[in-house]
């Protein structure tokens, strides 16, 4: 479903992605772990065409992202949900308008049906009471939930999460993780999750990839990754163990 092969990306003299390769199967959840500034978000932006890799191949749902025209890229993007780190809700619109904007710009929907779809999506993430509120009136956790609901509104086959639990308290983080697992179970979506929390990655993902200095240095189930002898992976695990 997602096939990343030898992707390179540099900003000036700074190489951020240095030959990243990764495969995500349909219906699978893969978490990408790494330190802040290791290029996780850059990789995600390359996947949806917000950034163009310098070299390498990215195939999403069978299509080569780097070779698509603008119109073809838009077609592909309709099948992808993207949850931003800070939710990126449109602050001049209410929650209802945020969701409606995504839906009505792509298809004609009768007002009653539109209200029903929006309510269902908000109910799925548990924030239906926030329907008429503006993003500034919501807590960080609620904003993330609305961000997820907005990503779901076009019923995507793939969801990309950029640090979905960062900046949240442990209880809210756990609720968001539960929600992500629930979505996977109910909708069967393929998910790629960027995170720096090993506990979170272990809980929500089928496989974990560790990104270090622009390369994937470990990839597999948690127990497989834990056995990797790469110094960074061991250091990461040790740091988490100390925290725990």
């Amino acid at each position: 479903m997602i096939d990343i092969d030898q992707v390179y990306k540099a900003f000036g003299a700074q190489t951020v992605l240095n030959g990243v390769s990764l495969q995500v199967e349909a219906g699978e959840t893969v978490a990408i772990l790494g330190r802040s500034g290791s290029g996780k978000s850059v990789l995600l932006k390359c996947l949806v065409g917000l950034l163009r890799p310098d070299r390498g191949s990215i195939r999403l749902d069978g299509q080569e992202v780097t070779a698509l025209s603008a119109a073809q890229l838009d077609q592909l993007r309709r099948r992808i949900g993207y949850v931003f780190q800070n939710a990126a809700l449109y602050d001049s619109m209410t929650v209802e308008e945020n969701l409606a904007f995504h839906l009505t710009r792509h298809q004609r929907v009768a007002p009653d049906r539109l209200r029903q779809i929006i309510y269902e999506k908000l109910q799925t993430v548990g924030v239906e009471a926030a329907l008429h509120k503006y993003p500034s009136e919501l807590s960080g956790g609620m904003q993330k939930r609305v961000g997820i609901a907005r990503a779901l509104v076009l019923e995507p086959k793939i969801i990309l999460y950029d640090e979905p639990t960062s900046g949240l308290d442990p209880i809210t983080s756990r609720e968001i993780e539960d929600l992500m697992m629930e979505l996977k179970k109910r909708m069967g979506v393929t998910s790629l999750v960027i995170t720096h929390s090993l506990q979170s990655a272990r809980r929500i993902s089928d496989r974990i990839a560790v990104l270090y200095q622009g390369r994937i240095v470990a990839f597999g189930r948690f127990d497989e990754v834990a056995q990797t002898e790469h110094p960074f992976v061991q250091e990461y695990l040790a740091a988490v163990n100390l925290e725990g």
Partner: protein, 249 residues
Amino acid sequence: MHDVFEQVGRYMLFVRQFFRSLLRRPLDGLETLRQTHEIGSKSLLLVGVAGLSIGMVLAMQTSSTLARFGGRGLLPSMIAVAVLREIGPIITALVVSGRVGAGIAAQLGSMRVTEQIDAMEVAALYPFGYLVRTRILACLIAVPILTIYADFLALMGGYVIMFFQQNISLKLYFDSAIRFIDLQTVLPAVAKTAVFGFIIGSIATFTGYYTRHGTHGVGQSAMIAVVLSSLFVIVADVLLVKLTLILFG
């Protein structure tokens, strides 16, 4: 210097993208109307006060000079020609570039740094059309309308002064004012204001849309939008006046 040429090149591409976007659906007509209303309502008070004041000042400053040459009767015509041809368009454009240009750049800049524009992009919502095209078109529509409004208030301002100085009737004032006004005076002036609207809208959206470096960048974008759009409005005015003189004499 290299950076300046790079920015000019990017601006040219941005303008080309705008003209291409006019053919792309959805056309966002309602959003364009909403933005036009927003620009109009934001600027109405300031443009109105500026127009009224300019008309009054113009009448006060020139009436004694004209009286010295026995030409006081020409005052309404002089005010009308000066206001309609030059002062109304340029004052309106400068007020709008300060009031609206900064607002547009700050709003789009803030949306850029909080990833709201990226969110539209990855959902294939065509943010350029929704955010940029609508605002440039709104400026194109609003600036000429605001100019007509400012012109009218400037003429009224001139009338107020003349009423107190010479007790002139409104009908006589306007009859005298429009004596030297014809289509060759009005049309180039209105066309000029549309160009000013385009300059303000395109520069403000360009600086806002490509904002970088967080909240500091938002402030910078707003400042650059005001400075550049005011500067280009003034330069364009000189060029357009010259062009009008070549075309219409």
